[in-house]
């Protein structure tokens, strides 16, 4: 790929990141870094994917550790200024997001553009472009509440990319999309990943296989595996047991997860 030089720059660096919800530890001293490209974040339910995405989106404060996004420290409560600067360049699709019921698609995406302090003169065009990129140009003046679940999900993707973010965080972006929409969405992801750092949390292994260049496997608050999609697929192709999954990447996923569990249990 032509973006090799860009890829060397780490846009996300996390060290010793710990997140606790009451007594439960969601993330346990995690060290991670990401460069531009599309990264898949895989793992069982409750592994800590959403906790990680929320810290990276600056909506949740970590209990401990350092978080550096786009060259600025943002983890501490006192990092107001750097957090504001980073948020202008950040896109975030939460697992569940609300919207004012009276808003049209155009108004909702404009509202988010306003949150990100985009220059007012650029907003109308940026909104139309973002909505067109998710294939909803013909519904831009429809009320969001009248749209189907899959369409609302695409509106969510549109608001996340309205400011052409350098760091894009998507939590379960393909939930509710039909197969055709998912194929289109993966193409959009690959396009965005050419210039931005895109981190996609999902439990659909095939999304990762199709759209992501690198994979991070999270399990019980720890990193179970990191590698390229090709490497994970290779684990699944080299004589792995067929019961682990129906295709190489699924088998790779299960094999890597079990290897990690065995290693943890053996400690």
């Amino acid at each position: 790929m032509s973006t090799v030089t860009v890829r060397n720059a780490r846009t996300v660096r996390v060290s010793g990141l710990t997140v606790r919800h009451r007594r439960r530890t969601a993330l346990d001293a995690v060290d991670l870094d990401f460069a531009p490209g599309v990264h898949g974040l895989l793992g069982p339910n409750g592994a800590g994917k959403t906790s990680l995405i929320r810290v990276l989106a600056t909506v949740a404060a970590p209990s401990g550790g350092r978080v550096e996004l786009l060259g600025s420290e943002v983890g501490a409560v006192t990092d107001h200024r750097s957090r504001s600067a980073v948020r202008r360049r950040l896109g975030y699709l939460p697992q569940e997001f609300g919207y004012y019921p009276g808003f049209t698609v155009r108004e909702f995406v404009s509202y988010v553009a306003w949150l990100k302090e985009m220059p007012a003169a650029q907003v109308p065009e940026a909104v139309e472009r973002a909505v067109a990129r998710v294939g909803l140009a013909d519904r831009i003046d429809a009320k969001v509440k009248t749209l189907s679940g899959g369409m609302v999900r695409r509106v969510g993707i549109a608001q996340a990319i309205v400011n052409d973010p350098d760091l894009l965080l998507l939590d379960e972006p393909t939930a509710g999309l039909d197969p055709e929409q998912r194929v289109e969405f993966r193409a959009l992801l690959r396009e965005l990943g050419e210039t931005s750092t895109v981190i996609v949390s999902t439990h659909l292994v095939e999304d990762v296989a199709a759209a992501c260049t690198e994979v991070t496997l999270v399990e019980a608050g720890r990193i179970a595996y990191r590698g390229t999609t090709a490497e994970l697929t290779a684990i699944g192709s080299n004589g792995a047991d067929d019961s682990l999954g129906d295709n190489s990447i699924e088998r790779g996923y299960t094999a890597a997860l079990r290897a990690h569990r065995t290693a943890v249990a053996g400690r």
Partner: protein, 211 residues
């Protein structure tokens, strides 16, 4: 004021989309309705045979309660998770939001009970709007906007039934909404509730509620 000027002065902005996202036009309409009904009810009560201006007590308790409920509801955010990614801090916007609605509600409701300021007139109305809004603002921060009307409703109901007929004394503190007007203790409690509740809301924001 130009956008540039506003930015350099670092004033909070409440643009049209924010105003709509918090249903502020609906809130303003609700407040207007409350004021009109309060003015009519206060006038009607005084005109009843054997009644005088002291008959305005229910208006002084109920109208501020309804106004504070409308203000509390307007503080609900439908998109809390996305709002957290805002570049600017939220507290100036919350402060402006709360102050603007408080001024509107206190001003208009004070005009709805003309005459006899010492007994259930405009000063008592202002005090009760401030106190009720303060309690409701604290409720928004602690239990969320959807049920923020509940604590003040329960409190008002209890006080309305339990307050002694004679004003002042200890009752001026715990039954501040039922005091006729100039009782200092009642003012102190109401203003303290407004300042504390408002500060809690401005600093913490509405408690997040499920989508």
């Amino acid at each position: 004021m130009s956008e540039q000027m506003r930015r350099t002065m670092n004033l909070p902005d409440l643009p049209a989309l924010y105003v709509r996202s918090r249903a502020l036009p609906l809130t303003a309409a609700a407040l207007t309705g409350i004021v009109l009904v309060a003015a009519w009810a206060a006038d009607w009560l005084q005109d009843q045979p054997h009644f005088d201006h002291t008959a305005r007590v229910p208006v002084l308790v109920l109208a501020p309660l309804l106004a504070s409920a409308a203000i509390g509801a307007s503080l609900h955010s439908h998109s809390d998770e996305l709002d957290r990614t805002a570049v600017r801090p939220w507290w100036p916007r919350r402060l402006l939001h709360l102050l603007a609605l408080t001024v509107l509600a206190t001003g208009a409701l004070a005009l709805s009970v003309p005459g006899h300021p010492e007994e259930f007139g405009a000063p008592g109305m202002v005090r009760n709007v401030l106190g009720a809004t303060g309690v409701t603002a604290a409720s928004v921060a602690l239990i969320g906007a959807r049920l923020s009307w509940l604590p003040m409703t329960v409190y008002s109901g209890a006080v309305y039934l339990a307050a002694p007929r004679t004003p002042g004394g200890a009752a001026a503190v715990w039954a501040w909404p039922m005091q006729p007007g100039p009782q200092g203790a009642a003012w102190a409690v109401a203003v303290a509730a407004y300042v504390a509740g408002g500060a809690l809301l401005v600093v913490r924001g509405a408690r997040p509620e499920p989508v």
